[in-house]
């Protein structure tokens, strides 16, 4: 089996195995508001046919030969692509790389640009190689404010118009909802913070010792208060940050989040706040909101559906939290009187959470890398 895999690697690396196929370029455009980023893969054979790359005539194109012609290549390619949104967008090649497709080597042009308008339709005109190769096609994938369009550009359909109106509001909402759920799921610090607050929800303190609550209603009410106030708090700061009204240095925010987890876990071991944990959840929730904001900043918010997307993301975070609660609470309630829960899950769990969060705190304060996650 291993030999087979190795053989495949060898065969795939053999340039003679390249296929003959009609010429395609692969154009991926991302338009977010006024900003354009794009990646354009153009076959080296096509560039050679149009511009002549093989300067020493040995039938081999080297990285050096391509690099020497980078300016010509950029000028040639950009003269055959127009993007417009509220007027012509300026485009520039920011870097050059190479890649392989089924039919050989490709130059990869990374393109950035700016458009006059942040909303409205986007027009694209493509005419690469058409004057030399009538079968050439541009395979376009356009991400317009979060909605993906694909099309095949040909000499008879080189000019295309993409309507921003077609963006489904519902689709946009659900997309950000999914992102919210996802970021709770992969945000270990948020999960651990929540767990630290949830672990004691099925317990009460009596005579400086923890014991199980008597009925499920008490536990449920406690959990709902904690989770809802956490959500309310991070929604406030997330919105403030996403709207650009408040901005805090990310290292400070990340450190404060780690500290919140340390304190929440420590409170389980040495109870200071025994009641009104929702207040703790609210207070620290304000800090976590700034953490979500950095995630959202990476995702990018569509200018025309900002509030809707924010709402979707917040709702997604809430759904993600509720999923954790739905699994955790019934189990914890069942086990609340057992030694296993009181000692193993609650005490040892809180210790572990505190230790992990402490490492995070040190990492983030001193900008180190100690843990793998």
């Amino acid at each position: 089996m291993m030999r087979f895999v190795l053989l495949m690697v060898l065969l795939l690396c053999q340039p003679s195995a390249w296929a003959h196929k009609a010429s395609d370029s692969f154009l991926v455009v991302d338009a977010k508001g006024m900003a354009i980023t794009a990646q354009w893969d153009i076959a080296l054979r096509d560039i050679d046919f149009a511009l002549g790359l093989d300067s020493n005539g040995d039938a081999e194109i080297t990285w050096g030969e391509l690099r020497a012609r980078q300016n010509d290549l950029s000028a040639w390619a950009l003269s055959r692509l127009d993007i417009a949104r509220g007027g012509a967008c300026s485009l520039a090649v920011s870097s050059l790389q190479v890649d392989d497709h089924t039919d050989g080597g490709y130059a990869v042009l990374h393109i950035t640009g700016n458009c006059p308008a942040a909303t409205g339709d986007l027009g694209l005109q493509y005419r690469l190689l058409f004057e030399l190769d009538n079968l050439h096609r541009g395979l376009l994938r356009l991400n317009l404010d979060g909605v993906t369009h694909t099309t095949v550009l040909s000499p008879s359909s080189g000019l295309v118009q993409f309507s921003a109106e077609k963006v489904s509001r519902w689709k946009q909402f659900t997309k950000y909802l999914e992102e919210g759920v996802w970021h709770i799921w992969i945000g270990f610090d948020h999960i651990l913070f929540l767990l630290s607050l949830l672990l004691p929800a099925v317990l009460v303190v009596s005579m400086r010792r923890w014991r199980g609550v008597d009925n499920f209603g008490v536990a449920l009410r406690e959990v709902l208060w904690v989770v809802t106030s956490f959500t309310a708090a991070h929604s406030i700061t997330l919105s403030l940050a996403a709207l650009g009204l408040v901005s805090l240095p990310s290292r400070l925010v990340e450190s404060a989040i780690a500290l919140s987890v340390v304190l929440a876990a420590a409170n389980n071991i040495w109870p200071v706040v025994e009641h009104k944990r929702w207040l703790v959840a609210f207070g620290f929730g304000l800090i976590h909101g700034f953490g979500f904001a950095s995630v959202l900043a990476e995702l990018g918010l569509p200018a025309d559906a900002l509030v809707l997307s924010l709402l979707g993301f917040n709702a997604g975070v809430e759904v993600g939290q509720m999923a954790i609660v739905a699994v955790f609470l019934p189990l914890a309630f069942l086990l609340r009187h057992t030694r296993f829960y009181l000692r193993g899950v609650f005490l040892v769990g809180s210790w572990l959470i505190m230790l992990v969060a402490l490492v995070w705190l040190i990492e983030r304060v001193f900008d180190l890398k100690l843990l793998g996650f």
Binding site: L7, P15, A17, K21, D24, A59, T102, G104, H136
Partner: protein, 404 residues
Amino acid sequence: MLIKCNQWSFKFGLALFAAVLATPALTAPRTPTQDAAVIERLPFRAGDTRAKALAEMRANVLKAPDDAAASVTLAQAYFNLALALGDPRYVGYADAIVARFGSKMTPDLLITRGMLQQYRHDFAGALTDFAAAKSMDPDLAIAHAWRGAIYLVEAKYSNASQECAALLQMQRAVLYGGCTGLLQAYTGQLADGYATLQQALSTTRDDDRRRWLLTRLGEVAAWKGQTAKAERHYRDAVALGQDDGYLLAAWADFLLDNQRPAEVAKLLASWEASDGLLLRLAEAEALLKLPAAAAHIQALDDRFAAAKLRGDTTHRAEEARFQLRLRNNPALSLQVAMDNYQVQKEPRDVRILLESALAAKSAEGAKPALDWLQTSRFEDAHLQSLAKQISQLPLSSKKSESKS
């Protein structure tokens, strides 16, 4: 249980690893570290005779962009390269040269554009262009020859017969022989067709025409079950030299049909770049259980996927064969073969449709092919036996229906 699970995850991991390796689309862009790194190899060196000849023709076109004759020469040279190497990029180059003339077409430009259109299976467009060329120049025999060939592919035999007759009237013996010989072969007169093609062969000394006639003679002889004769024709055709994708494919199919995959593996070893020939190579390697088969099957998968992305459907006959013989997917094969048969109705298209339908146990799917066999009275024993097997199908397909 634990061991089982581990084995499973090991296999899964390995499969995933292989899939990642085998999918070029998944590779990330990279920045080579050395200027000397070779990132692409071109079809030929700038100093090669072929490249020099092309450069000269290109220069002529640049010197006189409005000279239709120079443009036709270059476009035809590109088209011949496409046929020889199985490389459709040259068809695109030829097409762009012809497209520059817009509506100012000469008969030669129209013929060239028609040839390019039939290559892309736009038969209606091609027929129109050939007809327009002929109306501008009634002596243009080649227009009749091409129209005859397209009607044969479309199984419109009375139309084809008219084109052949026109060639006879123009006293173009070789073109007439090729046209009529194939028409006879496709319509229940294999022996007559063979004799007509043989006759045409004896009257020409042109290597290109001889190679084509020898290839078709090889096919007809094979349909007649005359294996030794067919082999001699193929060997004679190969001996004439010059790359010819159609000849290599026909010769490889003959060898595969006669259980000689080892010779196919040798014949096509350096032809991986052509999809049609890679298919035959992979079939041979799979029969020989060679390790290279897996990579070639994966490569074909990638290429069919890439073609789909740009909306290219010219390789459906090959794709059906790939799904049936190498992917063991009769249901998909039948679907693709049926789509292909809508456009192309030559014996090889009929054959893949029958084979797919038989494998998919669908007498219904085979119907168009069975109808063709009946009306054309085509005599190939293999196709007749497939039809017979399918005629016994309804029983078994009923059985499988009642089971489900």
